[in-house]
Amino acid sequence: MLQYVIRRLLLMIPTLFVISLLVYIIIDMPPGDCVTSQIDELVARGDPDALKRADELRHLYGLDQSLMHRYFDWVGGVFRWDFGLSCQDTVPVKDLIGERIVLTLIMEASTIAFIWIVSFVIGVYAATHQYRVGDYVASFFGFIGLAVPNFLLALVLLYVGKVYFGLSIGGLMDAQYIEKPSSWGKTLSIMQHLIIPVIVIGTSGTAGMIRRLRANLLDELQKQYVVTGRAKGLSELRLLVKYPLRHAINPFVADIGHLLPEVISGSVIVSVVLSLPTTGPMLLGALRTQDVNLAATFLLLVAVLTVIGMLVSDLLLAALDPRIRFGSAEK
């Protein structure tokens, strides 16, 4: 196992390096920079010192340096938890992302827990009750979840909440707790506000997982050893848990790595629609204004989470099912 962990870690490090480099280059690629829009405003207002101010700002943000110089400065800073200056109000990136990262992590973790719990229960039920009403209902909602875009579901829930229940669904906490220190009331408020975003973001992921778990479990349930077990008089629950469920659960574990980037990218638009103070809307703004340090930092953190998710899922799979596939044995 040590050999496996070492090899996976050695793959992770260059992967993260390449991702960070590509992200940095791509964000910087379009013409102009984050100062351009600010200067355009000053010029429009007829400020005579606009161009001088532009040079000062470019020097402040390091934009007068070469791209590679800026990249290595930024990467070096990452190790010190210093991601450079953001063009938004010239604030250090780490001060901008602080609470948003925590809230984002709480929301994504809750969403993943929601996806797992709901899809596990419904997936197992749908497979063990194939072609019954429950299976059709689960499949129907599964397809609805796959087909309806998250942001549309968010808009519908916003409307229904406001018009029929008089509830304001947006935000991740009540207004009185914004920018206030942590407290029990704030935690409770966050938990209440999390319900809608978690359902909205989690629905599409849940739908996919239900389909996969149902299909895998159905495959297993039709195998000879299950028939033999049933013939021997094993109870249905024991028959299900002993082998078929264990085998069918592997794709569940394998999905941990894929789920994280899926959930994060799916949450960006939903966060904008629901006015959630997570990293999504800020990332969108940073990409629009070419705030390279801020956008690259967010994307690097997403990449780190994704790579860690992949590592965890691979390690769990290696521990759960260290079997060779006959195709790979031939190769």
Binding site: Y4, K242, P322
Partner: protein, 168 residues
């Protein structure tokens, strides 16, 4: 059966040394050269410890020779141990691959007998097949319970163990 002396091939050991060295440099480099944030230092430090452990394990492998005999498997080296086939009570054969399609991987055999430490060897070891075959025979005679993964991996090597058929 006369005894066979087996070792890890040099290219395999050197590849592991390169991996360990690369890891030590990648994790230790920033720790030494940069003023690293303490949380980052914790992560890099954990990575560094892992790579140093791997380096130590590779050095241990280089200094160890495995002697396969009819009655025993002996790991003769700094952390050596002896497994008696007659008293074999654990056998696990795992397969690992870093690729998505699980190709190009390697096997790991873990065997142990009552009162001895477990010997873990990888498929890179010369004579790995002979050891697995001997261990499987011993498991069959001793009635050692094998996991489904171990049985599948043994089958993929063309080794079958009587009395270990799939039970429900």
């Amino acid at each position: 059966m006369s005894s066979a002396e087996l070792r890890y091939p040099r290219p395999t050991l050197w590849a592991d040394y390169v991996r360990a060295g690369a890891g030590v440099v990648l994790c230790g480099g920033p720790l030494v050269a940069l003023n690293v944030n303490r949380w980052m230092a914790l992560v890099l430090g954990a990575g560094l410890v892992l790579f140093i452990l791997f380096l130590a394990r590779t050095a241990l492998r280089q200094r160890t020779r495995y002697v396969l005999a009819e009655d025993t498997l002996c790991a003769d080296g700094p952390a050596g141990t002896l497994v008696e086939w007659r008293q074999l009570d654990r056998l696990k054969l795992s397969y690992f691959s870093t690729k998505r399609d699980r190709t190009g991987g390697w096997m790991q055999l873990a065997v142990g007998s009552a009162g001895s430490r477990t010997i873990k060897i990888d498929s890179a070891l010369e004579g790995f097949y002979d050891i697995v075959e001997r261990a499987a025979r011993a498991a069959e005679v001793n009635g050692v319970a094998l996991s489904a993964a171990t049985r599948a991996n043994l089958r993929s090597m063309g080794i079958s163990v009587a009395g270990q058929e799939e039970t429900v």
